[in-house]
Symmetry: D2
Subunit: 288 residues, 4 copies
């Protein structure tokens, strides 16, 4: 559950068909370069018979990232591994999109400023102007890209251009109230994270708090998930709920929900940035 890796480490993620000896082979490859395992998680998916591994590796003097990259490419080919080896000295580049509501954006910026996220935030994009001052106070450029019925294609072309120009590696929709076009969702698959203000699959779509109030549920929740073509239905990264009762009107649900939304999104985002999340069909492995 530890946070923001030492910048001198590497994070290795491996996914491969399960078989005896695989863990030993991967561990041996790391050890042969003098690497030490700081953190090590394994999961065996019995249904699909796959092993998923995540290792944070501290480097010995003899260990050169370039060497292990090259070496691991060979090992992986031999062993039929899906793998990635990430240098934690190279922070992710996070672009955030928001609309009018500030709570999720404010929480991410706050945690980023506190050093909880190992990333750079090259810019924030919004279809409203009201959050500009808060963003710029953090020293982050703010791009106002208005979206209307008539300019959608143009607006999202502009958004995509901004994302590309800033070389974003992760994009977060922090209560961004516009539907992302399917081609962009496809382009950024596995990098595009959304927060939905309900406990999915309950209350998919618009106005989940009104729906929750009308249904009389005793808990409300929030869901952080990857965005597929269908907005609310991607692989779930994190969820949480909070208790409500008959004394809560819809505005109370909205207010209480804000706290859940922001903490669920920030937690899910941290898992993603620390490469703790492995997408597995429509499900996720999250090595907390």
């Amino acid at each position: 559950m530890s946070n923001t890796e030492d910048k001198s480490t590497h994070t290795l993620v491996v996914s491969a068909p399960d078989r005896s000896g695989l863990v030993a082979q991967v561990a041996s490859a790391i050890a042969s370069h003098g690497g030490t395992l700081v953190e090590s998680h394994n999961h065996t998916d019995t249904q699909q018979s796959r092993i998923i591994k995540r290792n944070v590796i501290a480097d010995a003097q003899t260990y050169a990232p370039a060497a292990i990259q090259q070496d691991f490419t060979e090992t992986a080919a031999k062993l039929s591994l899906d793998w990635s080896l990430h240098n934690n000295g190279e922070p992710a580049r996070l672009v955030i999109l928001a609309s009018h509501a500030s709570h999720c954006l404010a929480d991410i910026l706050y945690r980023w400023k506190s050093g909880e996220f190992n990333c750079e935030i090259p810019c924030v994009i919004s279809n409203h102007e009201n959050l500009r001052s808060m963003v710029e106070w953090h020293g982050i450029p703010f791009h106002f890209v208005p979206v209307s019925k008539d300019n959608k294609q143009e607006a999202f072309a502009k958004i995509d251009d901004i994302i590309e120009r800033h070389r974003a590696t992760t994009i977060v929709l922090a209560r961004y109230m516009q539907i992302f076009p399917a081609p962009l969702c496809a382009k950024y698959e596995g990098q595009l994270i959304n927060i939905h203000h309900s406990f999915l699959p309950s209350f998919i779509g618009a106005n989940p708090y009104q729906k929750a109030f009308d249904r009389g549920v005793k808990l409300i929740g929030a869901t952080c998930h990857y965005v597929p073509t269908d907005l609310d239905e991607g692989p779930i990264i994190e969820q949480a709920v909070v208790r409500v009762d008959h004394s809560c009107d819809k505005d109370d649900l909205v207010r209480l929900g804000r706290d859940v939304e922001r903490s669920v999104l920030s937690r899910g985002l941290r898992y993603h940035l620390e490469r703790r999340v492995i997408i597995f069909g429509n499900r996720t492995v999250v090595f907390r």
Copy 2:
């Protein structure tokens, strides 16, 4: 949040159109008989402009239940109140229906034996024989009523007969895996309580744990609700969730879910037995 009222008390529940002075009038009526308020809850539903009150009343020497019943009937007529006044010395009569799974039934019987529920349990009905020994060990008669495709009407006529014969005031479906016929649901409306093994409205219907596994949710839950004609969709009394992760297969969800189901059902049942639950359309007020 206190439990199982002193048997010398009465519980008054009032629902009425909101207007100035109503609380004072009800409180005055109680005081005029020398009653003392041991517990007092109020809720104003602003949408429907109704006041809902629940009072537990300790009796003064001058206070006679028959007198207050009569007096209150007059007050209620004058004030257009829906009301009920229950003598807590007269325990509810609870009939439980179960199938093969024992966890919910066992939990209810355990709490009942521990004095947590102010009720009698005149019998348990099941379509399997495997729980007979546990029920009879508690000194409670066990009725085996097999249900098949072909004998449904006959079986439920028999079940209704047993319920009637035992003068049940509350009926609990403790993971009873047969669909209650609509006419019986209507007959026992507001007295018939079910536990659904998901966080409604997610995963309505059969096999919710399989559905939860397939969807990759990070929390699973249970819902205690009144049964309307449509099995999973009545007013919700209580809900809770438990965290799960990628290491849980479907059997783990079933096992972890059992703990949530039994505690949610027992808690909801207690609220109902203590007359803390007021149905309000498809929602509930629960004065905990």
Copy 3:
């Protein structure tokens, strides 16, 4: 559980020896002025035989605050009531003290800006300069009052002067790392709120996260409480915990604890500002 009362309402809090008819008398006094109960909570303390009531009262046209104040003064004398009647159109005046850590302060300012707290914040006081920019960005004056071993008396005289000058009605120690002098604690009894970064009474005093780590607890917590002479031991308003495990080092506890501290403090502060908290010896009644 609803939030920040309509500014046209009054909040009445009553504490009195329990006896039959009291609730009726208070309710009648309200009704006689045409007041309507928007929210109504009652608690009977059986040990001390006292009734505690909190009512939010919406005014009818015929209802004049001055009149009810006068009338209630008479009623209260007759009935031996402790009572207060607060005009919710007059917001509390909150002064916050912080040191170097920003999380609690940032959360309070954020919620205040979002309209979650019915109060004014005339200033923030700190013994460090690092939070000035954040405070001033919110349009709130920032007072830097350094505290050292040698200037304690002088520094706190200055702090008290600032508090008085801004007519504070509530003072919050938002991870303020200086011990408040006993005379100031006495002067602001019931108005001075602290957040302690442990689940009291565990880990009283300095370095609670280190102590929690050394003890190997599986949950860490935070406690919002009124400050008496002894810093960590006043009446508790609110507490919460978060799960930790062996993978968390002390820095992880600090990081995870920040989230609990800020939400516990903000929740407790809201209860206090909405006059939901009634101190009762070393315990509190909190009408959520």
Copy 4:
């Protein structure tokens, strides 16, 4: 988090000074016998620079438990490992001690009967007779060993004799209200599990619910821990809390606490039985 291992597997627990290559060497040793890792947890304790591993190993045809035991003994000597290899086909033998309160004992027996615990329960020992019928209904022998001021030494000699005779590998104090003699605590160190009815280190010793009530805490809890010489102060396995408020009197705390106690004890016991708990000074690693 999965439950009750396949009986054809082995569980390997290793603790060793941290160094590069260790995980590879252990994994290679397993693989060289054709073993497959079904479950694999690793923890690096950075303070003490130790690696702790737990592996559940499924056997290949070529894999013989006797062979791996022998082989691992050699490996361990070479690598300075503390290690244990347990055949999951050989269930633990659990002896439970209880007094008058039934909730923890009932919960353990219920889960055992449901197949949640991979253990045998050769007997239950109590200093009261009231739980005999419940125990015997489960088909488990019940030993009544009265304990008084005068017969303590004799009584515990008898208890120790029963434990030995039944070859217990785990002993649970399920709200057993007698203090275990220090020599027995020493004899069964790491095998003797207690449930304390508070959130330790709060409210150590007798009457924790009364103390919690008097202190006015907003959460009450329970702690499952190994018993050292000092009854309440051993390594903590599991803890949980439940919310309470001013409406709860001491009896309500006791009632609500029962639910937490029984679930915390059962969860901690399961972790222990599945060899998920590694004691580490006065702390524990729990691989859930």
